[in-house]
Symmetry: C2
Subunit: 437 residues, 2 copies
C-alpha cells in the first residue's frame, strides 16, 4: 500500500475538528476505500478546543497559515478559514505551490470561484468544494457526475437549514418569526448575526454554484435575486395550509429560452410535492433533467460531521486523481473550462412564476372588482380567490389570490396599480408560487 496522503488544514474550529475526527475515527473504512491512508499532518489554529474528540499527537500545530500552505510535504490543503479575503489568498497560494485544495467555503467559491478555478486549471491542481453546498449531501457529485448525460432544466432546493427550521417551527407552533429566530439562536441553528441565513445570502452562494455546474455557466453571485424569510407572517403560513401549500425558502434556477433564472425567495409549494415534506434544518435539492426526469437529494445541510463527510469524500476523490492527467479529472464546474457558455441571467422582472397575493380591503365589492380588472389588464390569470372576514366586528376583509404563471414585471405593475386603489389597507403581500418543485 502507498504511504498515506499528507493533508494540511487551515482552521480547527467546529468543521475542522469534525474533519480530523472523521479521518481518525473512520481511518480504517476510509483507507479500505481509498487504498491508502489520508492523514492530517499539519494544522493552523489560533485557539484549540481542549475538549475535542480527536488526537493532535500526530499533527504539527502552528499559528502561521503559511507554515501549512508552503510546507512542501503537504499534498492537499483543507481551507476552513471562512470569509473571502485571507481564504482567497491562502487558496491561491496553495494552488501556486501546486497543492490541491478542499474547501467548505461557499462564499469564496461563489464570489471568487472563476478566478480560483482558472488558477487551479493553469497549475493542474483540483479545488474540491462538495462541502460548500448543502453540507454533507453529495449534491455536487450527483449533478456534476451522476447527471452527466442530462440537459438540466431546473433546480429547486431547500438549501438553507436555518430558514427551513424557522419556517417549520412557525408552522408547527403558530409562532411568529422573531420568536422562532430567538429559539433557533439558542439551539445553535442560527448565528448571533443571522443576516446571511435569513436574508437569503447563504442560499444565494449555494445557488450560484449549483447553477454553474448545472448549466455550464460562469459563477455569477452578483446576479442572484435574493429575498429572505423575514417578512413571512403566521397569517400567510396559515393561508398556505388552507390552500394546500407549504411555504419554503427555495433557491431556484431554471433554463428558459431567454436566459437563466437565478433566484432565492420564500415560495409556496403544493403539499403533494416531496420538497414540501422536508422539515427542520434538513436540506433537499430537486433537479429536473431531460433523461432522468425529477430526482431529489436530501440530507443534513450543515453541522460539523456532515460537512466533514463531504470534505473527506473530496479528499478521497482528490487522492484517487493525484496521478491522473488533469484533463481527465472532473472539471471544476462540471463542464470543460473552454466549454462554459455565458448565458444571460434574467433580471427578476423577466422571470415567470405564479403568485400568492394577499391584501386587506374595506368591505366593498367594488375594490375586488377593480383588483380583478387590474389583473386582467396585465394579462394575469387568476386560479383562485378566497375572501375572509377578519372578524365580525371588523369592516375589512382579507383577500387571497392565487394566480397562474406570469412575467414578474406584469405582477409588479399590477401590484403598483392595486396599491393606489382606495379601500386598500396597507401593502400587498406577494409570495411566489411554484407548482412543479
Amino acid at each position: 500500500m502507498l504511504a498515506p496522503v499528507k493533508v494540511g488544514i487551515l482552521g480547527l474550529g467546529t468543521v475542522g475538528g469534525g474533519t480530523v475526527h472523521v479521518l481518525q475515527h473512520n481511518a480504517e473504512e476510509i483507507s479500505r476505500r481509498a487504498g491508502r491512508g489520508i492523514v492530517v499532518t499539519h494544522a493552523c489554529a489560533k485557539v484549540l478546543n481542549k475538549n475535542h474528540p480527536y488526537s493532535t499527537d500526530q499533527i504539527l500545530l502552528t499559528e502561521q497559515l503559511t507554515d501549512v500552505v508552503n510546507n512542501p510535504e503537504i499534498e492537499i490543503i483543507i481551507e476552513l478559514l471562512g470569509g473571502t479575503t485571507i481564504a482567497r489568498e491562502m487558496t491561491l497560494q496553495a494552488i501556486a505551490n501546486g497543492k490541491h485544495v478542499v474547501t467548505a467555503n461557499k462564499a469564496l467559491i461563489a464570489k471568487h470561484g472563476n478566478e480560483i478555478f482558472a488558477a487551479a486549471q493553469a497549475k493542474g491542481v483540483t479545488v474540491a468544494f462538495e462541502a460548500a453546498v448543502c453540507g454533507g449531501m453529495p449534491i455536487i457529485k450527483a449533478i456534476r457526475e451522476g447527471l452527466a448525460a442530462n440537459k438540466i432544466d431546473w433546480i429547486a432546493g431547500i438549501i438553507n437549514g436555518t430558514s427551513n427550521f424557522i419556517l417549520t417551527e412557525m408552522r408547527e407552533k403558530g409562532s411568529n418569526f422573531v420568536d422562532v429566530l430567538a429559539e433557533a439562536q439558542v439551539l445553535g441553528y442560527a448565528e448571533r448575526d443571522p443576516t446571511f441565513d435569513i436574508e437569503g445570502i447563504d442560499a444565494a452562494h449555494k445557488l450560484t454554484i449549483l447553477a454553474s455546474i448545472a448549466f455550464g455557466i460562469p459563477l455569477q453571485f452578483d446576479k442572484v435575486y435574493m429575498e429572505g424569510i423575514t417578512k413571512i407572517t403566521s397569517e400567510d403560513i396559515q393561508y398556505a395550509e388552507e390552500l394546500g401549500y407549504k411555504i419554503k425558502h427555495l433557491g431556484l434556477t431554471k433554463r428558459t429560452k431567454n436566459g437563466i433564472e437565478l433566484r432565492v425567495h420564500p415560495t409556496f409549494i403544493p403539499n403533494k410535492r416531496l420538497l414540501s415534506k422536508v422539515e427542520g434544518v434538513m436540506n433537499a435539492v430537486m433537479v429536473e433533467s431531460d433523461a432522468l426526469g425529477q430526482s431529489l437529494y436530501y440530507g443534513a445541510g450543515a453541522g460539523a460531521l456532515p460537512t466533514a463527510s463531504s470534505i473527506v469524500a473530496d479528499l478521497v476523490d482528490v487522492t484517487r486523481t493525484l496521478t491522473t492527467d488533469p484533463g481527465n479529472r472532473v472539471p471544476h464546474l462540471a463542464f470543460q473550462p473552454n466549454a462554459l457558455v455565458d448565458l444571460p441571467i434574467l433580471p427578476i422582472e423577466e422571470i415567470e412564476t405564479s403568485y400568492y397575493i394577499r391584501l386587506s380591503v374595506l368591505d366593498k365589492l367594488g375594490v375586488l372588482a377593480k383588483v380583478t380588472n387590474i389583473f386582467s389588464e396585465n394579462s394575469i390569470s387568476i386560479e383562485a380567490i378566497i375572501q375572509k372576514e377578519i372578524s365580525s366586528s371588523s369592516d375589512h376583509v382579507s383577500v387571497v389570490i392565487i394566480t397562474h404563471q406570469v412575467l414578474e414585471k406584469r405582477m409588479i405593475q399590477a401590484i403598483q396599480a392595486i396599491e393606489k386603489l382606495q379601500g386598500l389597507i396597507g401593502h400587498v403581500t406577494r409570495i411566489r408560487l411554484e407548482r412543479c418543485a
Copy 2:
C-alpha cells in the same frame, strides 16, 4: 480535443435505444462535460425497431455479439442483453479483450459480480453498473464515492417501482392486489410475467449490490431473505392508514453486532418518514451513516431514458479513467478488492424488527388474554392493540397488535403458539415494521 471514444452496444431494445438516443440528443452537453465525444459505433441487435428516435447511420449493425465484443476498435461495451448466461459470457469475453463494460444488468452483477469484478481487476478494466440499481438515480455513486468518509449503518430503500406502484394504487383506490397488478400490466409498469417484481427478486438483486458497496462485503444474492407484496390486503393497508403508517416494499440492509441483515419485504413505515411519501413507480433510498446521518436519494428507478442516464454517466466516468492507473479508480464494490470483509449474513430468524400482527378471533376475551400471554412468554413487548368488530352481525373481531423490536425467531415462536389457540380464525398476518426508515 481527443477523438471520440468508441462504444459497442449489445442489445438495442428499449434501454439500448434510449442510450443511443441520449448520446445523440445530448451529444453537445456530454462532450462539453467529458472533454471528448462518446459515440456508439457498433451494435448487436436481433430486431430493430423502425420507429426509434435515433439515427443508425453511423452505427454498424450486426446480429453477432462477438462482432462487437471482439472488435479491436471498441473501447467500451454496453451490455444490455438481460439474463445471466450469455450476458455473463459476453461480459467476461469483453473483459478478456481488455474492454471496459457498462451494464444495467442487476441479476448479472448480483449473481456473478464477484467473478466478473475479479476478472476485470486482473485485466485492469472497469465494469460500471450504476444503471443496475434504481435506474437513473445515481445511488451507486452517492454511496460508493459521496459517502466514502462514513461508516454506513443501514440502508432502506423503495427499490422496486412496480411494487411501489401497486401498493400506492391499492391504497389510493382501495383496490385489491390482483386488479391493480392487471392495471400495472396494461400500463407497462409490470411485465407479463411479473414474478421478478412482485416476489421481491428484482429488489433482492439491487439490495445485494447496495449491501456490498455499503459494508464492503462480497455479493451474496443467495443469502437475501425475500418476501413480495402478493399477500398484502386492502384490510392491512387500511389498518396501516388508521395507525399512521404506510405499507411499502423495502429492501433493508443493516450492520448489527452479530452480522449483516439483508432482507426484502413489505414494511410498515411511519407516515412522518420521507420514504412513506414516495409514491407510484418512483424509487428512493435512505442511508444512515455515522458522519452524515440520514440522507435520501429519489428518482425514476426504471424506464428507457432514466436508465440511459446512468449508462451514459458511467460512460463518461469510464472515459475519464481510461488513462488512470487501475489502482486509482473507484473500486467496483467501493472498497479495495483486498479489503472486502466477509461479515456473516444473518438468517431471517436472527434479525430484529418490530411487527404489525393481525388476527381474527371469536369474540372471547380469553383469546386476547392468551395472545398477550404468549407475547409476554416470548419477551415480545406490545406497543398498541386495536380490537375491532368486523360487523354487528359477526361474532368475531379483528385484533391488530403493534410490537416493539424483537428477534424474529421469538415472533415465529409466538405466532406458532397463537395459531394453535382455540378461537383463532384462519392464520396470523405478520408484517414487519421499521420506525427509522
